[in-house]
Amino acid sequence: MNAITPTRRGLLKSTGLVLGVALPAAGRAARALPDAPFAPNAFVRVSPDNLVTIIIKHVEMGQGPATGLATIVADEMDADWSQVRVEFSPANDALYKNLYFGTMGTGGSSAIANSWEQMRGAGASARAMLAEAGAKRWGVAVGEVKVARGVVSHGDNKASFGELAGEAALLKPPEKPVLKTPDQFTLIGRDTPKIDSVAKSTGAAQFTMDVRRPGMVYSAILHPPLFGGKVGKVDVSAAMAVNGVLGVKPIPQGVAVYARDTWAAMQGRAALRVEWDLSKAEKRSTEELYAQFAEKTEEPGVQVEASGDAKAAFKGAAGKLEAVYCFPYLAHAPMETLDAVIEMQGDEVHVWMGSQFQVGEMGAIAAVLGVKPDKVVLHEQYAGGSFGRRVSPGMEFGVEAASVFKAWGGKVPVKHVWTRENDLMGGFYRPLVVHTVRGGLDGNGEIISWDHVVAAQSAFKGTPMEFMGIQKGIDGSITEGAAESSYRFPNHYVGQHIMEGGVPTLWWRSVGNTHTAYAMETFLDQMLERGKKDPVEGRLALMHDERMKAVLRKAAEIAKWGSKPPEGRARGVAAHFSFGTYVAQVAEVSKGPDGLPKVHKIWCAVDCGVAVNPNIIRAQMEGGIGYGLGHALYGEIVLGEGGIVQQSNFDTYRSLRIGEMPEVEVAIIESGAHPRGVGEPGLPPVAPAVANAWRNLTGKVVRRLPFSVGGRV
């Protein structure tokens, strides 16, 4: 077995070291010591024991950047994959910012996309210096030196990277390292084994929840039962009577319980008696919100995109279709609930977490604790899933964890872990959304008008990032995918309403595309049927981007679109562009015993530019499909009468289980285009492809999700 495991101990020890020896801005190599590591830049370190450590600036939450980014560096460097290790970078914008964001952050399926040239340059630079070190040692021209699989050679002379580390450290990095041509790639484009599979198959991988510090206490928190509620009077007697509970502290976010272990903290949490101040809380139910949002979509809202006159064309249309779509709040529910460990070490605050906004979140923690941001040291951990949950504009979880730590005195290490109930009832959901769509056909069945209005809360509103996210009254993430869609209509209008609401909302895997793709692709499917067009041919005729067309053709080809499905089954198709990546999917469904779609297979075609690791691309398509399908079938967070969240754990927030996972076949379009993301784009087409297949099978039109509410037959 080719076992490749990152060195976790190395990770914990090292974050300061990287900064200490590697300052690429200075353009100077590390000082030379006999056994000093060779650290030509902030992303590469070669140690005399011949290990190549690659520094990963993005959070690894399952989407694969630890492997992907390391692959790019190792390829340009000509390292041997078996000598490669990874470490997560410290929180440092100067060295490790997301080049698309200007600050450290992982989101928008951008990890590979923003780092492509940067990682290639880092690897190529290291390679050039190792080659030069070999040339100097042997007194030959650098052009005659070969580098392959971690070995520098010239004729009979050979030296490993580790052997040359000390000499390479004396050299100056090249001004402009020469990058490989694609035909020279040895790891990119191949199914390079994932760097964390061994650790994650043996229980050895360390997550935040696994961190233990000497003298650490464990905390749990009880939040107000309604969003916008505040702590009133707290009766701590029952909680304090729980064996192992050390104390109870009200903080702005709720009531924190401190204990000797997690179980006691959770028991104490359950025993708390709190009078809440709910005078300013959100009390509307999901049903009330749907009604209010739907009413709003009757007005045009703020114009996001328009051509021709959609309303006039609709009025005069020969055929008309009108639809209202309702999408519920959705929780991200990563398997690892939100958590953090905070500890004081001298005048430094040490934080262990899987943060998605590393610098911003450490800054927020610093502000709570009244220290300078450069006194907060992040030990970035593997994140046990996220799907968008570990990143929020207000850094609310970091702020809460710091508040919990501070309330206990700020001297003792505290591990703060959310219960699953905290997670599912804690807000920051995919927003509740209503779409109203009106489409018109002419006498030949051609679509002549498309009028589309969306009402939703904005995840940016009222946060420090509002100025970035909302411009000229438009939050682009509400209508992305409906605006700038893959289709052209002669008379077209897209408008949006930013709704006020007390439920905190957040980006959720593929963000606005979670609902816009569904409305677009199911509505279009019905329009094409009314116009007597084939779903694939009809879409192709309306598409304006050749890459999108090629992806749709590929999905149709591998699904044998047009052939007769097996008895009792039907197929549906959907295509969607998001985060720079093109995806089309065909679903094959039958009727399950519960009156819901049984999805047998998804054929998926994807064009994400250069395929850095096809195996990870396939995995992310599978994962996006499973995550999207599970929520389409069962997922909803419901605010009941008075605004109380009805779901509290996986018994009521139903998740996709193994028997419900379809077979998935993925075709990756070969491309030399700049690589883009795959973490999110696999999700948007699956729900509409299944809905279209379901309609073809049963005639049932599903406009209220999940299917368990709006799609049962």
Binding site: G62, M209, M335, A383, R420, E622, S655, I658
Partner: protein
Amino acid sequence: MPTDFTLNGKPASFDGDPETPLLWVLRDHLGLTGTKYGCGIAQCGACTVHLEGKNRRSCVTPVGMVAGKKVTTIEGVEGAEAKAVQKAWVAIDVPQCGFCQSGQVMSAIGLLKAKKKPSDTDIDNAMAGNLCRCATYVRIRQAIHDAAAMVEG
């Protein structure tokens, strides 16, 4: 009175409330963090261990219940099935975020011990209690079939 049991082949003891779930005894008191918390109500399977060789959700198992019994966690699992399952898991890169995978691996080993050549339906039934929010299910199924073939030789 402390609760004594056998953990990964060695004697272990917990001096505390016997109602404490085994999960938290393992994680917070005995330092074995491979077994994960995901829900606390036996709905997700991330906390799966083997009790006397059989799959057991440690989050709803009071430690008092395992007194005098043999508990095996992901850190101590061994034998032909365990080797095959972990090898198969790595070979096709099953894990994504990885947080549920200790539980998936333990359930898969338990399944193979009970059934040498499980069908797809056997897998669906045996693994239904193990959630994976990353939806690595396609590969879990494949890896179990691959592991079964490996054990058979």
